[in-house]
């Protein structure tokens, strides 16, 4: 089991793009979530003290990832929460799980950039060389 993400400058230099590779679809989603949170904060310093149960359905795996990341951005603005731990299950085009994080007001690290939205710019989710791959650009 392994996953990784890396920020890629030339995906869109005005904003933030990243690529993710993972062995499983769940890991792909977790790594994408960590990359998204890493734009806004130091993920290592977000303590997992608050839990939110989430359930998301979408048309296709790509829009499921889009909606999952969008949920994190929504919770950042609506409830003021940052997340660092993700226990999720993905089946067909639905996702169910528990995510853990901390209110922004209690977070002690340096804040980063505010993420406005997940975009469909060069957005891609696919299987590549036996692993799962995603490319995401966030509007900041």
């Amino acid at each position: 089991m392994a996953y990784s993400y890396r920020f890629v400058e030339d995906l869109c230099f005005t904003d933030v793009g990243f690529e993710v590779e993972a062995d499983t679809v769940e890991e792909l989603f977790v790594a994408s979530a960590l990359a998204t949170e890493a734009v806004m904060a130091d993920v290592g310093k977000i303590r997992p003290v608050v839990r939110r149960d989430i359930e998301i359905k979408a048309e296709g795996l790509d829009m499921l990832l889009f909606s999952f990341l969008e949920e994190l951005i929504f919770l950042k603005d609506s409830e003021g929460l940052l997340f660092s731990r993700f226990d999720i299950m993905v089946k067909d085009s639905s996702l169910k799980g528990r995510i853990y994080g901390q209110p922004i007001g209690e977070y002690e690290g340096e804040l980063g950039r505010d993420v406005k939205a997940v975009t469909l710019h060069q957005f891609e989710v696919k299987k590549r060389n036996g692993r799962f791959y995603a490319r995401v650009v966030l509007d900041i």
Binding site: T14, D77, I104, R113, D114
Partner: protein, 480 residues
């Protein structure tokens, strides 16, 4: 891609260049600017030229750079009957815009106290990730904000009567329908009215130097004079608008097959303007646009309070009047002459500013004789400009001009070149005191990461789609 120079400052990509183009694409700029544009800009503007119902040409302003779907600096007009509306032609930050505020304070009065002033503004105006706004609204009050825009602020004491006419569309675009806005958008935006945001959004204290006044007569009409201190606010509709953009991007992405629309880039997802999806998005977008006017108005209210505290004078006595407020991410129903025929069109301006010329009925009487004030924000190091709209813009660019300087370097590349603390120090040595929520975010906004604002403004001035009035030099800056 093949570019044909059709006049000194206009390049054309003919509609034969790419299959599916309905109109040509026109790039506005000097030779230097056009030669330095990324190839992606040409791809994106020709993709826009393929959209259904587009009229005359897809335009790219001199500050153009690659965006999502549309390039930043993109302007496109579509027939309201038969054309489309596209969230990608507006941006997620609906009605991101600029507001310029004049004062009666002089450089001599403010310069010695600029640190105190900027520190006070920084503490009183929420900015950055997760910041909560100055207003505590109920959902029903928020619905009023969406419909009434700045009128709501004036009713509640967050604005002056005379502010209204100094805001594009008088701070209240008709057609807002809160029932077309999702509960998620309301939950996201409810607590954020009166926040600056992050990224390239800012509040800046600027000064007017005598040698930077290019048109003294128009400057006088706009209330600008030598040795004066002004303030500039750059922000948008915050999470509320971002969520509306996201919601309808998904709606349009799924709806396109129903209308037989195929686009070359999913970020160009669109629907006919008259379709239920198109109308719903337009009505929701207007809600976000009105909320953005309110956001900038509430920030101004706080600015007035802070300056009043710092200088122990009433805000009216300080002359804290709005010069103008412009939207640079928006779509608006306007009338323009296309191929000799006046018609109603939906003008998308994504990173582009309205630039209506003298005499236009949309311009308030106080400015009607000279034209609409146009505010172009530069990087925090290089300064910004106040310009005026022109008749030529009405003919050439659907009454539009540039909006800023346009990035030329990635955020990571900027951070590799300088640390935030180092940049802050360097700016302070040059007389610009800056406070930022995040130091790494500050480094990303370094002046060298942007095109030279002087080149962009020189280009729009020479093209004639707006005329420069005054350059504004920063002395203090707050960043989210």
């Amino acid at each position: 891609m093949r570019l044909k120079r059709i006049s000194e400052y206009v390049w054309e990509i003919p509609k034969t260049e790419k299959e599916g183009m309905n109109v040509p694409a026109l790039i506005f700029g000097t030779e230097k600017i056009v030669n330095n544009l990324e190839e992606g800009v040409f791809e994106q503007i020709t993709n826009v030229a393929c959209l259904p119902g587009i009229v005359r040409a897809a335009l790219c302003m001199p500050d153009g750079h690659v965006g999502y779907g549309f390039p930043i600096g993109g302007v496109a007009a579509f027939r309201t009957d038969g054309g489309v509306i596209s969230p990608g032609g507006i941006g997620f930050d609906i009605n991101c815009g600029m507001r310029l505020v004049r004062t009666d304070l002089t450089v001599e009065e403010v310069q010695p106290r600029v640190k105190e002033l900027v520190d006070r503004l920084f503490h009183r105006i929420p900015a950055g990730v997760g910041a909560k706004g100055l207003l505590r609204l109920t959902p029903s009050e928020f619905e009023e904000v969406m419909v009434k825009g700045v009128d709501w602020c004036i009713e509640k004491g967050y604005g002056w009567e005379e502010d209204r006419e100094r805001i594009e569309s008088y701070g209240r675009i008709p057609g807002a329908d809160p029932s077309k806005v999702s509960k998620r958008a309301i939950e996201r935006g409810l607590a954020q009215m009166g926040t600056l945001g992050s990224g390239n959004h800012y509040l800046e204290v600027q000064i007017v130097k005598g040698e930077s006044i290019f048109d003294p007569e128009v400057a006088r009409v706009f209330g600008i004079r030598e040795d004066q201190v002004v303030l500039m606010i750059h922000c948008g509709s915050r999470g509320f608008g971002h969520q509306i953009g996201t919601d309808y991007l998904k709606v349009f992405d799924s709806a396109m097959p129903k209308y037989g629309i195929k686009v070359r880039d999913r970020e160009l997802a669109c629907a006919p303007f008259t379709s239920p999806e198109g109308q719903d998005y337009y009505k929701a977008m207007v809600c976000a646009a009105n909320a953005a006017f309110v956001n900038r108005q509430v920030i101004l209210h706080r600015v007035r309070e802070v300056l009043s505290d710092v200088f122990h004078r009433d805000p009216r006595d300080l002359g804290l009047e709005v010069v103008y407020d412009v939207a640079h991410n928006i779509a608006k129903v306007e009338r323009h002459v296309v191929d000799g025929e006046e018609m109603e069109v939906l003008v998308h301006r994504k990173g582009a500013t309205r630039s209506f010329g003298p005499g236009h009925p949309e311009i308030p009487e106080i400015y009607r004789e000279v034209g609409q004030p146009v505010i172009i924000g530069g990087s925090m190091e290089t300064g910004s400009y106040l310009l005026v709209g022109t008749e030529k813009a009405m003919k050439e660019s659907f009454g539009s001009t540039a909006h800023g300087s346009g990035r030329t370097m990635s955020r990571h590349a900027a951070k590799r070149q300088i640390r935030g603390s180092e940049l802050r120090q360097r700016m302070e040595e040059r007389g610009i005191y800056v406070r930022a929520v995040t130091m790494s975010g500050l480094a990303e906004e370094a002046g060298f990461a942007y095109k030279n604002i002087d080149d962009v403004v020189e280009a729009v001035d020479r093209i004639g789609i707006s005329r420069k009035v005054v350059k504004l030099k920063p002395i203090g800056n707050i960043k989210g």
